[in-house]
């Protein structure tokens, strides 16, 4: 009994060959039983939608079945100026986020690491991690209040003699609102990853540097940053892999009829033409376009990450 149940148990070769499946089944069925509910979940909740994506190649009819139309929906999509606009918006917003948001948590981690008082550091961390756990509905609510004509930002503007601006309905400002609100939400929490990497650096390097008379910046530049470089590389590549997801939850809650033209992204476009206008096939095609590009990007990201740091995305 025990010998049969043990993983890797090597029975006599002859016996294994004869009853391979039966033997394997007796040994492993409890684990398969444990896997089963999860596997069923994945097959139904993830693979049925993947199958449904074939709608991108169909003409949806009120009375099924749908008709196969090949790439017609994609031709329609690529001939639409609106689609190019949303792809362009997505690229701009993602690039802005990558350039202006990505370095912030690194700087925060470097600063946090300099704080020598334990309770002070803990207090700072407890405060700056919080926004990560708030929904975008809540954060939008907070930013709408903050940026409204009677909000804090315009109070400051008035105090220094500037005209109040309604940033939420300002097409020039709204992309920056996306960047800044994302920093507000994630700069603190994302620094945790870098902080963990900093902690892992061999402390004797710092001691040696101090004996050699290195100052704070020399230690940061020559020890800390090289020490966290693999983490930086991995996260940068990961962010590149998710380039076309410019932040649906965020944009969706900060969008209004006035600012839509500059922050309409692929995801909000899919929602609008798919579920609000009812162009199911076209919406599915746009979503699939994003899915396929995203697939390519994340595979490339994985391979590059593995090549550079020896650590893949998953």
């Amino acid at each position: 009994m025990t010998a049969e149940l043990a993983p890797h148990s090597n029975g006599p070769a002859g016996r294994r060959a004869r009853g391979d499946f039966a033997h394997s089944f007796r040994q492993w069925w409890p684990y398969w039983a444990m896997l089963l509910p999860g596997v069923i979940f994945f097959v139904i909740w993830h693979y049925v939608p993947i199958w449904n994506a074939k709608m991108a190649f169909e003409q949806v009819r009120i009375i099924p079945p749908n008709i196969w139309v090949g790439l017609k929906n994609f031709q329609l999509l690529f001939s639409s100026p609106v689609f190019y606009q949303v792809v362009w918006n997505t690229i701009i917003i993602s690039t802005m986020k990558l350039v202006f948001i990505f370095p912030v948590p690194i700087i925060v981690a470097l600063m946090l690491n300099e704080v020598r008082s334990g309770p002070l550091r803990k207090t700072i961390q407890s405060a700056v991690y919080l926004p990560h756990f708030l929904s975008w509905v809540v954060i939008s609510g907070i930013f709408i209040a903050l940026l409204s004509p009677s909000g804090a930002i315009n109070d400051i503007a008035r105090a220094v003699g500037l005209q109040p601006v309604n940033y939420m309905t300002n097409t020039g400002a709204i992309r920056w609102v996306l960047v800044l609100s994302e920093i507000w939400r994630s700069a603190g929490w994302d620094s945790l990853l870098y902080l963990a990497a900093i902690i892992a650096i061999d402390q004797s390097l710092y001691e040696a540097a101090e004996i050699d008379g290195a100052n704070r910046w020399q230690k940061i530049w020559h020890i800390t940053i090289p020490g966290i470089a693999p983490t930086i590389a991995t996260l940068f590549i990961l962010n590149m892999g998710m380039f076309l997801s410019a932040g649906l939850d965020q944009v969706f809650n900060m969008q209004n009829d006035v600012n839509r033209s500059t922050i309409d992204i692929i995801d909000t476009y899919v929602y609008r033409i798919g579920l609000q206008t009812g162009e199911y096939a076209l919406g599915t095609a746009a979503g699939l376009f994003k899915g396929v590009i995203g697939f390519i990007l994340i595979i490339v990201a994985h391979l590059v990450s593995k090549r550079l740091t020896g650590r893949g995305v998953w």
Binding site: H8, M34, P49, G141, D155, W314
Partner: protein, 319 residues
């Protein structure tokens, strides 16, 4: 920035691992000034993070008549009134939203944990035939997302639209959390499992009596992530739940604050019935509503800090 990063985060630094070097604060005046600048910058970050929330609290507690003139910078209520909160907690739509959110979160997290832990344990057993195939099955869902419309039609095909299940079961097993848990389970010493087996425990008993208790901190961390996910979810409910009586709190908040739909809260025909609601300043009302939606997160936030910043994921096995 994204949900993908979250799973890595639990491998946080353990407290007290910092080595306090002699030159910590600075030996020279210049170094001390640098230190002061760093600390001031971080404290400014704390203010920027906390002040907007405290301002909302102040606005929600202020005397109604004085709210319109209040600065966005203050964190002290002008006058004092609990009118906003009284109306909010007695409002039928807010109550219903709160109940729906609690239901979705509670049922959701139980299903999440049951499915994720069982599946992770199975996947973590070396030599399990079909293990690789299941792994690939899961990884494919990470790298390829067919989009929101195929998801929507799946729910339609299976008759899930307008049921709580459409929302509860969305991402019932989060592939990233699953992978983290598999890696955690793989590190449980084989000796412990072997000992349980020799004592006559079958694999289910081993899972329940040995593996789960050992993985408690890791499972608690993942459970907190799932709770936050369910509580904050608004997009799937918006897609799948037409019936406003089934809406979670986030959607009630969204309709009122983001879409600025005053009638949705005050109600045209109820103007007379909710005399308080119709008279309360909208800004104060929105502030209270935002805070009410945050409140449960604030309640579990100390737990989140405790588990996430302790390095539970990596520390539990080694320690």
């Amino acid at each position: 920035m994204t949900s993908i990063e979250e799973p890595i985060a639990p491998m946080a630094p353990a407290k007290g691992e910092y080595v306090h070097t002699r030159a910590a604060i600075g030996r020279t005046p210049l170094e001390r000034i640098e230190y002061a600048i760093i600390v001031t910058t971080l404290l400014a970050m704390v203010v920027v993070t906390v002040q907007p929330i405290l301002n909302l609290l102040a606005v929600s507690l202020s005397d109604n008549a004085r709210v319109p003139g209040m600065s966005g910078l203050t964190i002290i209520p002008e006058g004092f009134s609990l009118d906003v909160w009284t109306v909010l907690v007695n409002h039928p739509r807010v109550q219903q939203g709160m109940l729906n959110s609690i239901l979705i979160t509670a049922v959701g997290v139980v299903i999440n944990i049951a499915l994720t832990t069982l599946m992770a344990w199975g996947l973590s057993r070396p030599g399990l035939p079909g293990r690789r195939a299941v792994y690939v099955l899961v990884l494919v869902t990470i790298v390829f997302e067919p989009g929101m419309l195929p998801d929507y039609f799946f729910n339609k095909q299976f008759g899930l639209l307008d049921t709580y299940w459409s929302v509860i079961m969305y991402k019932a097993v989060n592939a990233w959390y699953l992978i983290i848990l598999v890696r955690f389970f793989e590190e449980i010493p084989e000796d412990l499992i072997e000992a349980a087996r020799i004592d006559g425990a079958n694999p289910f008993q081993t899972f329940y009596m040995v593996v789960l208790p050992l993985a408690k901190p890791a499972i608690a961390t993942i459970a907190l992530f799932y709770i936050v996910f369910h509580w904050n979810e608004f997009f799937r409910p918006l897609l799948y739940l037409n019936d406003q009586n089934k809406w979670p709190l986030q959607l009630v908040l969204r309709q009122f604050v983001v879409e600025g739909d005053k009638l949705s809260i005050v109600g045209l025909e109820d103007m007379g019935k909710y005399t308080n609601a119709s008279q309360i300043d909208l800004r104060a009302f929105k502030a209270g509503m935002i805070l009410l939606t945050i409140a449960p997160i604030l309640v579990i936030y100390p737990l989140i800090l405790k588990y996430f910043t302790k390095g539970t994921m990596t520390g539990a096995v080694k320690g």
